[in-house]
């Protein structure tokens, strides 16, 4: 039996349903370490449900998900998975810098100051570092959440609709940061409707009505037509 390094993300008949409603039909998926994957599908297709189960925010109805071989939501999985949600949730009374410090200390990050300064600059937040994000616009709050997701150590980055609310500069900066993270060896899983991003990844996973309808290289078939865009 071959035994290699565990995949960055693996799901085994992972299912989520709410009563009669099946949000995610049994899903088997394996994403090796270092791969860049995009998750596409129309609203209600199960993308967010899948990502939230992988992040440990939702409990599966059945099946399991593992992160580098550890059960999703376990302390080991939380240590290596960074989840960027579609709606930024931040403390009302902490500045951006205080958020950064708190996040880095929670995750045991070392030498985070330089990395934080670089991210603040890249995302155009350097001059707002002392401000409270609770007074920011939606886009700036999204950038703050992105910063917090990237400043901590991670091996798997899971991102849900990251481009919502970002201006073109912010979008470009974020795509560059994703490229940097991938170059550094991280596995990236991005759920998005941003069609141009699909061409930048190694693999495309398409969902429709909670079911897997495509899993392969993005150029292989007309995935977008398949999921109903």
């Amino acid at each position: 039996m071959p035994s290699g390094p565990p995949p960055a993300l693996e799901t085994t008949v992972l299912t989520k349903s709410y009563g009669d409603l099946v949000a995610l039909a049994p899903l088997d998926l394996s994403i090796p370490d270092g791969q860049r994957v995009v998750l596409v599908g129309h609203n209600g297709s199960g993308k967010t449900t899948l990502l939230r189960m992988v992040a440990g925010l939702l409990e599966p109805t059945s099946g399991r998900a593992t992160v580098f071989g550890h059960p999703a939501g376990s302390m080991e999985a939380r240590a290596t998975l960074s989840y960027l949600p579609d709606n930024p949730v931040l403390y009302d009374d902490l500045s951006v810098l205080e958020h950064i410090e708190f996040t880095c200390r929670l995750h045991g990050a070392e030498d985070w100051e330089d990395r934080a300064a670089g991210l603040l600059h890249d995302l155009g937040l350097a001059r707002r570092a002392e401000d409270l994000p609770s007074r920011f616009s939606r886009g700036l709050r999204q950038k703050t959440a992105i910063l917090l997701g990237l400043v901590r150590p991670f091996g798997l980055l899971v991102v849900d609709e990251p481009f919502v609310g970002l201006d073109p500069q912010g979008r470009d900066a974020f795509i560059e940061l994703l490229d940097d993270a991938a170059s550094a060896g991280a596995t990236i899983v991005v759920a998005t409707h941003q069609l141009e991003y699909v061409q930048k990844v190694d693999r495309c996973v398409a969902l429709r009505d909670g079911e897997l309808v495509f899993d392969g290289p993005p150029g292989e078939v007309d995935v977008l037509a398949l999921v109903g865009y």
Binding site: A55, L57, E59, T80, F102, R105, L106, H107, F154
Partner: protein, 577 residues
């Protein structure tokens, strides 16, 4: 990009965060504001004490009555303790009672940190606040008990405070155990029912078998000292210790769902926005309408085979009077769409809500039985139970009030629509009243209880539905309302108070006939005496429904008058300064 292995620094970071935020909050406290709040609290506590003293009376009970309290008091207190424990178990089954900030769920619970260590301080904080508040309330009840019962004041206050604190300690403890072990909603409800059933069995048999009754014994120590009562302390203390130990197992999914709802719930409660409180509480309990109705109404609105054009909003109003109906698929007259819509909503009530309606009806019936037997203050309990049931029963109307844009698109005045949709709610509340009548007859051992309850059912239902509609239709109090700017603050305060007090008072009117029935005069039978005041009660309900009918017109007129008054007070640009 891998993290280094270190767990304690994360907990240190969390402790530092809490410390810094607490210091910031303390620095931001306006001490004059805090003193003013303390002053208001003291006044309110004084008023509560005065009202409570008035209700229980000041004269000492006779020896026979005191002996009866001594004999039956412990299981009665045990039943109250069981209710507290049951609330805890139900809450724990739904992932409560922890109320975390949404940011804590996202940042702390998703960090590689020991969740037990991270959640325990929050759990301890909630436990401490609850226990302190309960001890104060219990001490107050002990003081009220002292006014009627033999014994010294200090033991009554001490025992009242201790038992209430232990009950809440146990409630929180069991809740943390239930959520930490993720027993689930169904098991939480079953355990809650088992706890209540156990205490009720003690009450019915007069035996002391449950820890709840032992705590009841403790509450009555000023009357009779029973060492066994101390054993009652064990359950709450053990539950709290185990709860704090396992609280880290709380589901993150539940914690996240609650984090968004609990904050809104507190805000709505602060504003006394009852409708929002009801809606959020249902969301918290995951109480959603049934996918399929209990009973499908005969097929006027059967889904068309092909996509049909949306019906004009005017159809609801027009069809009630003139009748237009769904002419595309079925060219029939549709006479009562508003009633039909009401029934469609009611027939999708989840089992939990139906159970709650029946339970509140039974509670109202038992309280009325208590009034019949001489405990007049139970009238408040009966009225309150009917009012709470009505808040559920008027759901179809509340759906219209919640969406004013959609409602205003109908070609029918809002008040008219509310009244038409109230009819199914009155039917539901009549059934609730009959449940109460049945419970009163069973508990009282006399068919007269059912007869009295049955003749009261319709007027009480009208009053309760009117009360529920008043609460729902008046909406939340406007925080910045231009119509209030000309009103002196005292008047605005009184107005807000009346908004809160009048609806339950209207519901209480429906429970009043039992007072006339218990002491019949001029040769009337109990039933005839009860029936004799029903027209007045019905009239009060109809007046309240009239208020609902014309509420929008009245508030519109008032707002317009206030705006006109503001315009005339504003200095003209041509007026020399």
């Amino acid at each position: 990009m891998r993290r280094r292995s270190a767990d304690d620094p994360a907990l240190d970071a969390l402790a530092d965060l809490h410390r810094a935020r607490r210091a910031r909050r303390v620095a931001n406290i306006d001490f004059f504001e805090a003193l003013y709040r303390a002053y208001l609290t003291a006044i309110l506590a004084g008023v509560a004490l005065w009202l409570g003293s008035g209700l229980v009376g000041g004269s000492r009970m006779g020896a026979a009555a005191a002996a009866s309290v001594e004999a039956h008091g412990a299981p009665a207190v045990g039943l109250a303790v069981a209710l507290v424990l049951a609330v805890g178990l139900r809450s724990g089954g739904q992932g409560g009672p922890l109320a975390l900030e949404a940011a804590d769920v996202r940042h702390v619970l998703l960090a590689p940190i020991d969740r037990s260590a991270a959640l325990r301080p929050q759990a301890w904080k909630q436990l401490r606040s609850g226990v302190v508040a309960a001890a104060g309330t219990g001490a107050l009840l002990g003081l009220l008990a002292y006014r009627r019962l033999p014994g010294n004041v200090a033991p009554w206050i001490a025992c009242g405070g201790a038992v209430a604190a232990l009950a809440v300690l146990g409630g929180y403890g069991l809740a943390f155990v239930a959520s930490g072990l993720r027993i689930g909603r169904r098991a939480g409800t079953l355990l809650a029912l088992a706890v209540i059933g156990w205490a009720a069995a003690d009450y019915a048999t007069g035996l002391t078998t449950s820890p709840m009754t032992l705590l009841g014994d403790l509450a009555l120590w000023p009357l009779r000292l029973r060492a066994a009562g101390t054993a009652g302390i064990l359950l709450p203390v053990v539950a709290a210790l185990v709860g704090l130990a396992v609280v880290g197992g709380t589901s993150v999914e539940d914690a996240e769902r609650r984090s968004s709802l609990v904050g809104q719930l507190r805000f709505a409660a602060t504003l006394r926005d009852l409708r929002t409180v009801v809606v959020l509480r249902r969301q918290l309990a995951q109480e959603v309408p049934r996918q399929r109705p209990w009973l499908k109404l005969p097929g006027r609105y059967a889904a068309p085979a092909a996509p049909a054009a949306p019906a004009a909003p005017a159809a609801i109003g027009a069809a009630d009077g003139a009748g237009t109906g769904d002419s595309r698929s079925r060219p029939q007259r549709n006479l009562f769409p508003a009633w039909r819509r009401g029934w469609q909503g009611i027939l999708r009530f989840p089992a939990l809500r139906l159970g709650r309606l029946v339970a509140l009806g039974v509670l109202a019936g038992l309280a009325e039985l208590g009034v019949w037997r001489g405990t007049t203050p139970l009238l408040f309990a009966a009225g309150l139970a009917l009012y709470l049931a009505a808040l559920d029963a008027v759901e179809p109307v509340a759906q219209e009030a919640d969406h004013p844009d959609r409602r205003d698109a109908y070609s029918i005045e809002a008040g008219d629509l509310y009244l038409r949709q109230a009819v199914p709610s009155i039917v539901v509340m009549t059934v609730v009243g009959l449940c109460g009548a049945g419970a009163a007859a069973l508990a009282g051992g006399s068919f007269l209880g059912f007869e009295v309850g049955a003749v009261m059912a319709v007027p009480a239902a009208v009053g309760a539905v009117a009360a529920g509609l008043m609460s729902t239709v008046q909406g939340p109090p406007a925080v910045f309302n231009s119509s209030d700017t000309l009103m002196p603050p005292e008047m605005a305060g009184i107005r807000n108070l009346l908004r809160t007090v009048i609806p339950p008072a209207v519901a209480m009117i429906g429970a009043l006939p039992v007072l006339a029935g218990r002491h019949p005069h001029s040769g009337l039978s109990h039933l005839a005496a009860t029936t004799s005041v029903l027209p007045e009660v019905l009239f009060a309900g109809v007046v309240a429904l009239g208020w609902v009918r014309y509420h929008d017109r009245m508030t519109g007129w008032w707002r317009q008058s206030m705006e006109e008054a503001q315009v005339t007070r504003r200095p003209s640009p041509h007026t020399p300064s």
